[in-house]
C-alpha cells in the first residue's frame, strides 16, 4: 500500500490504548476500573477523530457496526454491575435471586427513557426505520418542512383545537380550510405516533422482564452464562420474541395501519397545499408531472402496439413474397395437369385466381390484424428478429 493510500490513523491501536489505560490505573492501586468507565465515549471520540479522514464507500456500514457495538457495550456495562454484585454473594441462591430481581428493577425505569446512563430505547429507536423513512418522505417535500410539524409537539392538540375553532374568512377561506385539515390530520398522526412509541416502550419493558425470567430459569437449571456476548444475545432474543408475538396481534395490525394511514392522509393533504403554492407561482406540480407521465405511459403502449402491428405486417408480407414462388410451383403442376385436360385459358385462369387470392390474402391479413388487435389489446409483441436487441427507451 502506498503512503497515499494508507489510512491516516494506521499506527493508532485504540483498543491497546484502552487496555494500557486500565492497566495503568490498576498499577496505581486505584479503585478497580469497570467497563462502564467510558468504553462507549472512548469509541465515539476515536471515531469522531478519524471519521473525517476516511473517505470510503464502506464507511456507512462501519457506522452501523459501531452503532450496534455501542448497544453491546451498553448491555455489557449494565450487566457488569449485576455480575459483580452476584459474584460477591457466592452461592447464596436466595440472595442471588433477590439481587437479580432488585437489579432488574433498577433497569426498568430506563425503559421509559429515564435518567440512567443506559436507555433501552436507544436500540428500539433504530428500529423505527419504516416510520422514520415514511416521515422523511413527506417532511422533505412538504410545505411544513422545518416547522413545528416536524417534531412531536406536546401542545399540538391545543394548537390544533385553537385553529379549528377559528372560522375561515375572506378570499383565502378555502386555503385556510386546507391548512386546518392538514393540522387536524397531523395531530391525528401525532396521537398515533405517540401511542406507537408507548407500545414499543412497553414491549422493551416486557422483553427485559422475559430476560430476567430466563436468567432465573437458567440459574434454577444450573446453566450458566459465560460471556457478555451471551448476555447481549439473550437480550436480543428476548426483545425479538416479545416483538414477534406482539406484531401478530390484531392490536398491532390495527395500530400500524392507523399510524401509516394517518401519516399518508397528512402527506396527501400537504401535497395538495404544496400544489396550490406551486400553481400560484406558475411552477410544475406533482399532478401535472403525473399527468405527463400518464400520457407518456399511454403513448409508450401505443408505440409498442404499432410496432407489433408493423412486425406482424412484415411477417405477412414475407409470407406473401414467398407465396408466388409456391404458387408458381403449384401453378406449374396444375398447368401440367391442365395440359392434359385443356390448353385454353391456361394463363388467364391462374392469373385471375391469383388476384382473387391476393384479395383474399389482404382480407385475411386485415382480419388477422384485427384479431391480433382484439386479442392483445395493445399488448406489445415483437418477433424475435425485431426483439433481438431493439431498445425502446423513453
Amino acid at each position: 500500500m502506498s503512503n497515499k493510500d494508507k489510512i491516516p490513523f494506521d499506527g493508532l491501536d485504540w483498543s491497546d490504548f484502552q487496555k494500557k489505560y486500565i492497566d495503568a490505573l490498576n498499577a496505581f492501586n486505584s479503585p478497580k476500573p469497570t467497563v462502564n468507565s467510558g468504553w462507549v465515549n472512548a469509541m465515539n471520540d476515536w471515531w469522531q477523530f478519524n471519521k473525517p479522514e476516511t473517505p470510503n464507500e464502506n464507511m456507512n456500514m462501519f457506522e452501523n457496526v459501531l452503532e450496534q457495538s455501542r448497544n453491546f457495550y451498553y448491555v455489557s456495562e449494565q450487566f457488569t454491575n449485576l455480575v459483580d454484585g452476584i459474584n460477591k454473594l457466592k452461592n447464596n441462591n436466595q440472595g442471588i435471586t433477590d439481587f437479580i430481581n432488585s437489579k432488574f428493577k433498577d433497569i426498568d425505569p430506563s425503559v421509559f427513557g429515564g435518567n440512567n446512563s443506559f436507555n433501552w430505547n436507544t436500540l428500539a429507536d433504530n428500529f423505527e426505520q419504516p416510520i422514520e423513512l415514511l416521515k422523511k418522505t413527506f417532511t422533505d417535500s412538504s410545505v411544513f418542512s422545518n416547522t413545528m410539524f416536524n417534531e412531536s409537539n406536546p401542545g399540538m392538540g391545543k394548537i390544533a383545537e385553537q385553529l379549528f375553532s377559528a372560522a375561515g374568512l375572506g378570499a383565502n377561506r378555502e386555503t385556510q380550510d386546507k391548512h386546518k385539515l392538514a393540522i387536524k390530520l397531523w395531530a391525528k398522526y401525532q396521537d398515533n405516533y405517540q401511542e406507537d412509541l408507548a407500545v414499543k416502550a412497553r414491549l422493551n419493558k416486557d422483553a427485559l422482564e422475559l430476560m430476567r425470567t430466563r436468567i432465573l430459569e437458567m440459574s434454577a437449571k444450573g446453566e450458566d452464562i459465560s460471556s457478555m456476548r451471551q448476555v447481549y444475545d439473550l437480550w436480543i432474543d428476548s426483545n425479538e420474541k416479545i416483538y414477534g408475538e406482539y406484531v401478530f396481534t390484531e392490536e398491532y395490525s390495527e395500530l400500524n395501519s392507523r399510524l401509516v394511514n394517518s401519516m399518508m392522509a397528512f402527506k396527501k393533504q400537504s401535497n395538495e397545499i404544496t400544489e396550490d403554492a406551486l400553481v400560484s407561482m406558475n411552477m410544475p406540480t406533482t399532478s401535472s408531472v403525473n399527468e405527463l407521465a400518464r400520457r407518456h405511459y399511454e403513448l409508450r403502449k401505443q408505440v409498442k402496439a404499432m410496432q407489433q402491428e408493423i412486425s406482424n405486417l412484415k411477417k405477412e408480407l414475407l409470407l406473401k413474397n414467398n407465396k408466388p414462388v409456391a404458387a408458381k410451383n403449384d401453378s406449374k403442376s396444375s398447368i401440367i395437369k391442365r395440359k392434359s385436360k385443356t390448353k385454353t385459358n391456361k394463363r388467364v385462369a391462374p392469373k385471375s385466381s391469383n388476384v382473387v387470392q391476393i384479395k383474399q390474402d389482404k382480407k385475411k391479413l386485415t382480419n388477422n390484424v384485427k384479431a391480433i388487435k382484439k386479442k392483445t389489446k395493445q399488448k406489445t409483441k415483437k418477433t424475435a428478429t425485431d426483439k433481438g436487441m431493439i431498445e425502446i427507451k423513453f
Binding site: E57, N58, S69, F72, N87, I225, Y297
Partner: protein, 354 residues
C-alpha cells in the same frame, strides 16, 4: 445458583478483544474497495424500457434443449441468484447443463409509475418468453419464479399455459392469509390507495425497512455485532458485504403495480380465491396443468411454508412435486447447503421432463 460464570476481569478482556476486532475490522473495511456481485458471464439479448433480458453463457458441453427463464421479484435486485463464485444458484444451474435466461427489471422511475401487473405479465414477461421461444425455435420454455416473481410466473402460466413447458416456483407466496404470514398481517388494513396516491412509486428503502422490521433486533442489530467477529477475515467480510449490498439495493416499485399486488394478492388473497384480475382476465390457478416443482424454505420468515405449500391445492397439474429446503428465504439461493441441493434438483427435475 449463580447463572453468571464470569468474573469482572473476563468482561474487561472480552470487551478488549471485541475492541481489537473492531479496530482491525476498520482496516479490513477500508481496504475492501468496490463490492462486486454477479459472477456468471452473461449477454443482454433483449431490452425493453428498463428491463434487460440476460442469457447466461453455458458452462457445459451438453445442455438441456429447453431454456429456463428466471422471473425475479419486483423488489430487490436479481443478482442475488448469482451473488458470487460458489454462492450462485445460476452458476449451479449452468454447471448442471441448464440454459439460463434472467429478467432484470431494472430500476423503475417516475415514468413507470403507471405500469400495471398487466404490463409486467402480459407485456414484459410474455415478450421475454417470445424472444426466447423464437430464438430457440420452440413453442414452450421452462419458467422459474423467485418469490414475488413466482406469483407473477403463476399468473403468466395461468394466462399463457401454451407457452410454458414446466414451471418451478421458489419461495413463492400463494396463500397470502396463512397464520404465520407477518408481512400480510402488517399490510392487511393499510389504505393502499392513499399510500400510492400520496407517494406515486413506492420507495425501495421503505419496502426494505419493512422487510427488516419483521425481525428488527436480529436483522438490524445482532447481525452487525456478529460481523465484528469475522472482520479479521477479509473473505468472510466480503461475503457479508455482498449480502449487505444486495439487501440495501432496493429499486422503487411502480405505484400502480404495487397497488394491484397488495390489494389483490395480500389483502384479498386473490390467488387462492381466484379473484386476481390481470387486464380483463381472471387468474384461475386451477387451469394450470403443466408440471410444477414448488420449492419452499422451511425457516422462511417472509413467505411461510404454508403460504407456498397451498399451491398444490390450487392447480390441476398431475405432475406436481415439492421440495423443502432446510433454511431461510435468502439462504435458499446463497447458502452453501443450497448450492448442493437446489440447482441439481431443479436440473434433474427438468431433465426428466424434457
Amino acid at each position: 445458583m449463580n447463572p453468571f460464570n464470569i468474573e469482572h476481569k473476563d468482561i474487561v478482556d472480552e470487551i478488549h478483544e471485541f475492541n481489537s476486532k473492531l479496530a482491525q475490522g476498520f482496516s479490513t473495511l477500508s481496504e475492501l474497495g468496490e463490492i462486486e456481485v454477479g459472477v456468471s458471464e452473461k449477454e443482454a439479448v433483449y431490452h425493453e424500457d428498463n428491463l434487460v433480458l440476460y442469457h447466461f453463457k453455458s458452462r457445459t458441453e451438453k445442455q438441456n434443449p429447453i431454456p429456463l427463464l428466471i422471473v425475479y421479484a419486483l423488489v430487490n435486485r436479481p443478482y442475488m441468484a448469482d451473488l458470487q463464485d460458489g454462492r450462485s444458484m445460476i452458476q449451479g444451474l449452468l454447471d448442471e447443463g441448464v440454459d439460463v435466461y434472467l429478467i432484470d427489471w431494472g430500476y423503475p422511475d417516475s415514468a413507470d409509475k403507471f405500469l400495471t401487473l398487466d404490463d409486467y405479465i402480459n407485456g414484459y414477461i410474455d415478450n421475454c418468453v417470445d424472444v426466447i421461444s423464437e430464438k430457440h425455435k420452440l413453442n414452450k420454455i421452462n419458467l422459474l419464479g423467485i418469490c414475488q416473481g413466482g406469483a407473477l410466473s403463476l399468473c403468466y402460466t395461468a394466462l399463457h399455459q401454451e407457452k410454458v413447458k414446466n414451471l418451478i416456483t421458489t419461495v413463492t407466496p400463494v396463500d397470502f392469509h396463512t397464520k404465520k404470514d407477518l408481512l400480510s398481517h402488517m399490510v392487511r388494513e393499510l389504505d393502499i390507495d392513499q399510500i400510492v396516491d400520496a407517494s406515486g412509486n413506492i420507495s425501495g428503502d421503505i419496502l426494505n425497512a419493512t422487510f427488516l422490521s419483521l425481525k428488527p433486533y436480529t436483522l438490524m442489530g445482532q447481525k452487525y455485532v456478529d460481523l465484528v467477529n469475522i472482520l479479521d477475515d477479509k473473505e468472510k467480510t466480503m461475503n457479508f458485504m455482498r449480502m449487505e449490498k444486495w439487501i440495501f439495493d432496493s429499486p422503487d416499485l411502480a405505484g400502480e403495480a404495487f397497488r394491484e399486488f397488495i390489494k389483490m394478492f395480500y389483502q384479498q388473497n386473490g390467488l387462492v380465491k381466484g379473484t386476481v384480475k390481470i387486464a380483463d382476465d381472471i387468474v384461475d390457478l386451477s387451469k394450470i396443468t403443466v408440471p410444477i416443482l414448488n420449492i419452499y424454505a422451511r425457516d422462511d420468515h417472509l413467505v411461510p411454508t404454508d403460504a407456498s405449500k397451498a399451491l398444490e391445492g390450487c392447480v390441476s397439474s398431475k405432475d406436481y412435486n415439492s421440495l423443502e429446503f432446510p433454511g431461510g428465504h435468502i439462504g435458499i439461493y446463497v447458502s452453501g447447503k443450497a448450492q448442493k441441493m437446489i440447482p441439481p434438483s431443479v436440473a434433474a427435475w427438468l431433465a426428466e421432463r424434457t
